[in-house]
Amino acid sequence: MADRITLRVTRYRPESDTEPTAQEYDIPLRKEWVVLDGLNHIKDHLDGTLSYRWSCRMGVCGSCGMIVNGEPKLTCATFLKEYAPGPIRIEPLSNFPIVRDLVVDIGDFMRKLPRVKPWLIRSEQERPAKEEHLQLPAEREEYEQFSMCINCMLCYSACPVYALDQDFLGPAAIALAQRYNLDSRDQGSAERMDVLSSADGIWACTFVGECSAVCPKDVDPAGAIQRYKFTAAMDALKTLLLPRGAR
């Protein structure tokens, strides 16, 4: 194994650049280093002006997502040696505006998330519970997969529908809505339906499936969206066919 590797990193300085450019850095290649370690090496020893986000460096915070050789990846979970001999292209997440270098604006996602009410909703009439709401392991299994999401937005970066139409609610937001819809303790699925079942919600999705392919936590947002399409369609059928009382 060669002991050095080149990182070709996207730079964008809004005060002086009109277009992002690529800058090359030559760094040591160590077998235990992930891409993020390489960036930290650059920041600490080669070029302190490079900007990027990270926090936990262990795949839980979801802040280090970037495009590595064209694929959306968590840079703290992607080893440099897999790309040897390099060079490795490091770009900011696609489909989001670039603020600076590898930092993108995630405001759009942050505004979309609360629209699907990703929290447990109980009926207004209900008295406050005296004890915890119990749940069987089988009931927990129903939504567990969707609860693994770390909001890294790799799925948004991989989604061509989102690239073309920023109004699309997007994979993670819909998967998170399903996480609560499928929770036996939740009573809010009717409240979420208007947002989810709109033209900018599930119906815009054409099941490209790339969101599920890139998700580092196996959330399968594409599956969540398809399942919800079925739920919403059945609901619409019922509304059409059944008299009001029987719904």
């Binding site: 005060e15 505006p97 073309l164 920023q166 054409t206 490209v208 499936g209 790339e210």
Partner: protein, 136 residues
Amino acid sequence: MKVEYTPFHPRWHRPRVPVFWWLRRRSYLLFVLRELSSVFVAWFVVFLLLLVNAVAQGPEDYRRFVDWSATPGLLLLNVVALCFILLHAVTWLFTLSPHAMVVRLRGRRLPPAVIGVGDLVAWMLASALVIFLILG
């Protein structure tokens, strides 16, 4: 394309999506081809209706229809159509529906792979039935 959510940040860079964005990744290209299979599904409907009509008209028309469908142009079209239809069937039965369907057996959700196998069995049964009915 909308850029509404960066109104106060004109300097933030937002690249445009190229028209042929689906040429940039293999998976995107496969997706677009999969969607194009629908055109050949529509073509099949036309072809089927022509066939049924020819058979109903009598043996003469039927012969003429078979001769017409043996012309190189039409054969080529149907070979291409068959490839696209197979792409549709394979993606639909083995990638789309296993993700989209929730089938429960004794309260447990079946894993996607099992649903795929079920789809395969259904596909083979349906095809066998079609062949049996038509060839007698």
